[in-house]
Amino acid sequence: MTFSLFIIYKIVLVVVVFLISLVIAMYSTYAERKVAAFMQDRLGPNRAGPFGILQPVADGVKMFMKEEIIPQVSNKFLFILGPSIAMFTSCITGAVIPWGTSLHLFGHDFSLQVTDINIGILYIMAVTSIGVYGIMIGGWASNNKYSLLGALRASSQMISYEVAMGLAIIALVMHTGTLSLKAIAAQQVGWHWNVFYQPVGFLIFLVCAFAETNRTPFDLPESDSELIGGYHTEYSSMKLGFYLFAEYINMFISSAIMSTLYFGGYNMPLIGRLHLSPNTAAILGVVFLFAKIFFFIFFFMWVRWTVPRFRFDQLMNLGWKILIPLSIFWVAITGFVTLMIHR
């Protein structure tokens, strides 16, 4: 593959992944409102276009038209930096996710992964940790009590749950023996999904993913009944839009990560028996991955409209006294079993 072709292929892939995350985040807002409405025996938005499918566009236009307010007492540079970091970090996590195997076109192999770094999981953990800064800086720069409280809650919650999440991933890595997401996805051919080997690990990861994305029941940083809007109380217009949008992109990416780490990624059982051409199989793999992702996005919403919000001490109890000991225990079990098998 020539260098220029390589550059063009990577740019196209990056743009496609970026656009897909944006569109999915956009329609997640619509789906969220529909799911919420359906679970409450309502119809949800249905006026903008057929079934209300133009609702996200209307919301976006509204967000852009709103007055842009930067409070006098705020730190202007940090105030703008906050949502930018939140948006930036949620967008770049998509780079290491293997969206499919590879397409064979014009005599070249095009891998459907932007970059396969051998420490893919670590990269994701690192980037999501930076994501905390977006919320923290935004809440701090607003110079408002509610924003600061929201930011403090967000940072303490994310740091607490990152520990348990990291330990769950350590157990997974002990099982798979690699940190590369591509290798992990490739290992789970057929029914060898990691969730069957790591059920407790998956449960811990799932709970932590809810906490990391600030979704109900862990939406304390923006609990509107207590903190008005939490860290984004002072934000208006598209800067608020960026925060809300980043949350939905995070939801999409964490669904993708969960599908890749525990539910076989682009693999589908029994698909090998059909003897499809490699390209068709690759495209079907992408479809399967997105089906799994959409299921998890629905699952996020399903939980949000079922489970009420935790109290802050309950949240900390769950994180430090239950999830971390449980994940350490699970790491020990995994280590023991792995040792027994490989001896």
Binding site: V35, F38, D41, V303, T306, V307
Partner: protein
């Protein structure tokens, strides 16, 4: 003692079992419930296209009825304005000119008849007071508007359209008719005296 609902439970402070402490079965139960509601029939009535059926006695926007020949029944007696507890009705009386017999039933008519729909409480007392069976409350809703002055409805909005009269048969019950023709009530006595 009889309980108010069948779903009430006596609260107890007993220690939770291990399975209960896990919370997961309870969360799954809750999620099953929300999923059940997800597929349920929705109760929403989509208002402008679908309208909820009103009760037969519903009292909405007023109409000034015409008689069988299409002449206005209202004689501007002012009884509705007197009866109105919200003082929403005002009118100006005028004398019928020769040649206007097809327009107004009697010698006197209302040249101006206004109801302030923001003041009106839709109690229906005007309807009860009317000796001429002229004013009725219908099953129509008063439309929304942006400015207050548009809520003062004049004769252009109140008088029954000539070509498609509004149906008020639901409110013209036998009891109201009996009440209106009953000789004991003062307005009926005045009515019969003036006609003589």
């Amino acid at each position: 003692m009889q309980t108010l609902t069948t779903r009430s439970k006596v609260a107890s402070n007993k220690k939770m079992t291990f399975v209960e402490k896990l919370y997961l079965p309870a969360i799954m139960g809750g999620m099953a419930l929300t999923l059940k509601h997800f597929f349920k029939k929705k109760v929403t009535i989509q208002y402008p296209e679908q309208k909820r059926e009103f009760a037969p006695v519903f009292r909405g926007q007023h109409v000034l009825k015409r008689d069988e020949n299409g002449a206005e029944r209202c004689t501007a007696c002012g009884l509705c304005a007197v009866a109105c507890p919200a003082e929403a009705i005002t009118m100006t009386a005028a004398e019928r000119k020769p040649g206007e017999e097809a327009l107004y039933r009697e010698e006197k008519y209302a040249s101006v008849y206004e109801i302030n729909m923001l003041r009106c409480i839709f109690c229906g007392l005007c309807e009860e007071a009317c000796p001429k069976e002229a004013i009725f409350l219908t099953d129509r809703m008063v439309d929304t508007d942006y400015v207050r002055k548009n809520f003062i409805y004049g004769k252009d909005k109140l008088v029954d359209p000539l070509n498609n009269p509004i149906d008020v048969s639901k409110r013209e019950t036998r009891e109201t008719r009996e009440f209106k023709t009953h000789p004991e009530f003062t307005h009926n006595k005045l009515n019969t005296k003036s006609l003589k």
